[in-house]
Subunit: 333 residues, 4 copies
């Protein structure tokens, strides 16, 4: 079927490619003309503006936005002025689900359907397919089923003993508008927690030879009481590889980690400044609103904040207090 | 090759079965005679006592213990009195790696080798193979390679682009005695973190309809400020299933979770008292010793402690303080 | 000077009493007529409605609201319709500082000043004075200085080597509207953390005799490896009392705790369900917005959520996973 | 009465001074002869060696050690060889209470009493007195009561409505050997938590003007969604001062903090590397042993570990994973 795509970055462009392979007609636009031309060369219909894109669509139209959160609302407003009753706008980016709820309410007044799609798969989606978590009106979601089916991984990725549910193919209709991004938000929060669990474990594996190091003996350094138990030089690349085979912690993230560590077990190309892109923050706020304790997520999120340098003043306060009551001078690094 | 197994519980018995399938000769003993007889019926050589078991072994002997931590040391002491220079004792249970270091030192004085094997795979190991993390003297570990190869999953479980390392077959020699259980300890700590990440996520998914509930309005209850954002009745079974297909959080644990939730999304058969069996505690202590922050593991471990009822007095102190400075009365459940 | 007070609950009524003692004229209103009559009997001017209250005020009028968060906005709207350019509304309750920012913006259009006052002191304020954190336009705050001075503790509470700052008397002008409640919010978040620190410590003191208890020995219970180190029957009342004298952890909260524990060291009147009233949640959200890690606050807040029963499904998920991969059955409580 | 002191560092020397003021005879030794001479000039009896010190003591002798943990055991062994049945050794340093339990057991075989004293007060103890938490045999503790009374703050520090308990004077007998340091360990763990609570709060107060800063807009930076709520330039020195007067969070630590912030609100003399000296680690291990959740303490401890640079590899793993699944490049600092 026909679908329009606005936003041809890494994610959007690859989704168009996967849709083209699925036999769909894709009308595409991006502010970067080169991106439009590239996909036009692969079979898509290029558009020179949002207006041009809309003019090329049969009714009822379906327009998929794959944009950074910061410009999604502006584009949405433009689209809302060009589309008509019965058309549908799909937001496949990383929007806050609360914005979806608000947007859907406004668009409903014009009779335009709004669908939010949480999309997981990252740079591997073109090859493996995208796991899709969809929120929106049932009729509109059903109409777009061929699109979702083409984007999703299909039955090949993982085995399942049960029947033919779309969940087994890698996409589901979660509920009304906003629910798709809500589920994606929780997905990403779990991802934060899993990543942090692996990171902690690897960090401790690396420290298993701490007993071989000479420690300063002074009142400011806590001594390592049993150095004989910390004499192991462990191979983190081999360990992450072996865990992929039959262990309880095997996962796709572990597959990626094993590969990264095989390339460079010391990961020296990375400085350890870890960004966060919003979903973890939103999920923690949702936990606060609903009274659900999220200690793992908050730990993972705060670790990222600290890695960005935001714990510094807090630590200075601690040092100031230690100096004030105990006369402790800071150790130099 | 010939190997003895002491301890024929769920894990030990299935490991014997997998070894028998691999063509090995297994001499087996358990304090429960019925367990011995069952495996004798499947081709193992039954023994009536540890002495009898040792008497049936060719030299150099290899004895694998698969016992609860509480009785491992007693059995080890009996064995140490019966075995001789060149023999090897393997501990495949969940021992503290520090005990391994101590045991290996004592056994080395008698010329007996000690190998510790961290074993992951749980009740699925018979079918899928056991992921093995092995610590001990290189010569002894190498001699037992056919045993490890038979127990391990082999190449089928996960794909890998690299060559023929034993890690790809699901077993590795991590380092000297103790290192196998150290790596297994970290493995289990990661498992705690991953499980807690999924659990938190599922808990929040369940709470996505909080806005539909009527909340008491009083000074002791924090109001839900935006109920319109918490109106989703989400299907946790479908969500865990869809994440198995192409998403970043897919894993073997998620496979199990999806199946559990399909059977009963409310998990009503479980009361929510979560045991812990030691490795998480040991790992946290190792983090303390080496100065490695483990916020995710500690959060996961403390959640289990709380589920066991150990936070009660702490909460009573909080209520007492709130009453003392603010005159707040406790709300009833 | 003259001031009006709306809301004569525990906090509001005692503040009026303290203001009357300071020689101020207080015009008071509450929906509960008995509360109005009681204070009228102590020298305040009673009002029968908000309209009546406003009619009794000289210009420029100053009206202090001391109301539950849930009804503050409604009262504010009524007041805004009755007051005029140059008047001032003070919110001394526990409002979210973001609401203050919004309210001040709207009232400024009418020329009405808005002052937010974070008030600490709880049920002890009448006697000890109230610590005041004030946000709002400088001129309006300055005009009301006699009111703040009377409410504040004055110089007696704590010693200080420095000069005559209002901070030493127990009140400060923090900045523009909203900043008073922002500082109060952070104050309460610190309070959560301090309370949780004491609570944890007391809980561990209580557990110092764990080694005397007989533990079940089974695969689901982690053994207490060194019971000889947990043989202390400690007197938590005596310990909290001694810490009040010369220790680093002495504080006003500790004073209250020592008194509570002297009355009943087992705190059996409390069930351990701990409410939270909003500020901790708002502070955590502010930390999320600004990228400031708040691990102590979040731990303290999540402990309260758990005490309210909101961790149950999360724990059920953990039990379900343990059953699925390890065949572990839940222990009964 | 007569008492010997070994170890004349900041703590030991000041304790001798306070004892001399109390009219006690102090026999003193330190490996640093200048420290001995200084106190001899103030009225103490100097000793040239441990042997010399013991020779100067009347029977039954009482020797107080105030030494770094690393050399306490060696000194104790020397003393044990010189002392006799009925004598008493007091350890007033920061020993692990488990060492106390072991030491007391060994010394009891020789009839020597062992008393462990947890001592709080830091560099302020000379002036304010030391809060003492005492473990050991009742008879020995009772015999030394005049010493403890002189070291303790006495009744002046804080008021109390109750009678004449030693706890009100600032010292208590907690229980058998080890219990003094156990209680001190918990005291320090609470101190960690309180310090971290204040530090977090101050960090957030500092960030209250985040909305004034221009943020990069890119996919790697989470946008500040409501900058209008983060426009406050707060004076942390004034805020900490005002909280000292009538607020719920007033404490001795806050007194110190207010003074530090008045001197330099930016605390620029401190780099933010926070040491830890052992008690926090021991307390967390005790929580692990007894199954008591300690989320605040662990958060506070891990923050210190991170400030020491031990989170780096963990963060590199996170960055590696983000690059692997999402193609995210690290932002530079």
């Amino acid at each position: 079927m026909q679908i329009a795509m606005i936003g041809l970055g890494r994610m959007g462009a690859n989704m168009v490619r996967r849709l083209l392979r699925g036999g769909h007609e894709c009308v595409v636009f991006d502010v970067n003309k080169a991106s439009v031309d590239a996909l036009a060369g692969e079979g898509a219909v290029g558009a020179s503006s949002i207006e041009d894109l809309v003019s090329k669509l049969a009714k009822p139209a379906a327009v998929w936005m794959m944009l950074p959160a910061a410009i999604t609302d502006d584009t949405l407003n433009v689209l809302a002025g060009l589309l008509a009753r019965g058309d549908v706008i799909i937001d496949g980016g990383n929007s806050n689900y609360q914005d979806d709820v608000d947007r859907a309410g406004k668009l409903a007044e014009k009779g335009i359907d709004y669908i939010d799609v949480g999309t997981s798969g990252g740079v591997w989606g073109l090859e493996r397919g995208y796991c899709l978590m969809i929120g929106g009106p049932k009729a509109a979601v059903t109409r777009l089923d061929p699109i979702f089916l083409s984007l999703a991984p299909g039955a090949g990725t993982a085995e399942s003993g049960v029947g033919r549910r779309t969940s087994e193919l890698g996409y589901i209709h979660c509920g009304p508008s906003g629910s798709g991004h809500f589920v994606k938000m929780v997905h990403n929060g779990i991802e934060y927690g899993m990543m942090a669990a692996y990171a902690e474990g690897m960090n401790l594996l690396k420290a298993a030879n701490s007993g071989k190091q000479t420690r300063t003996v002074d009142a400011e350094t806590s001594p390592l009481s049993h150095p004989q138990y910390y004499q192991f030089d462990l191979d983190v690349a081999e360990i992450s590889e072996v865990w992929r085979h039959g262990s309880v912690v095997s996962s796709w993230l572990l597959d990626l980690l094993a590969q990264s560590l095989e390339n460079d077990p010391n990961l020296e190309v990375f400085s350890g400044r870890v960004s966060d892109s919003g979903e973890g923050r939103w999920m923690l706020k949702a936990g606060i609103d609903t009274g659900i304790p999220l200690p793992v997520l908050s730990s993972a999120l705060f670790q990222r904040f600290s890695s960005q340098g935001h714990e510094r003043y807090s630590n200075q306060v601690l040092s100031a207090l230690r100096a004030a009551f105990g006369g402790h001078a800071e150790k130099k690094h």
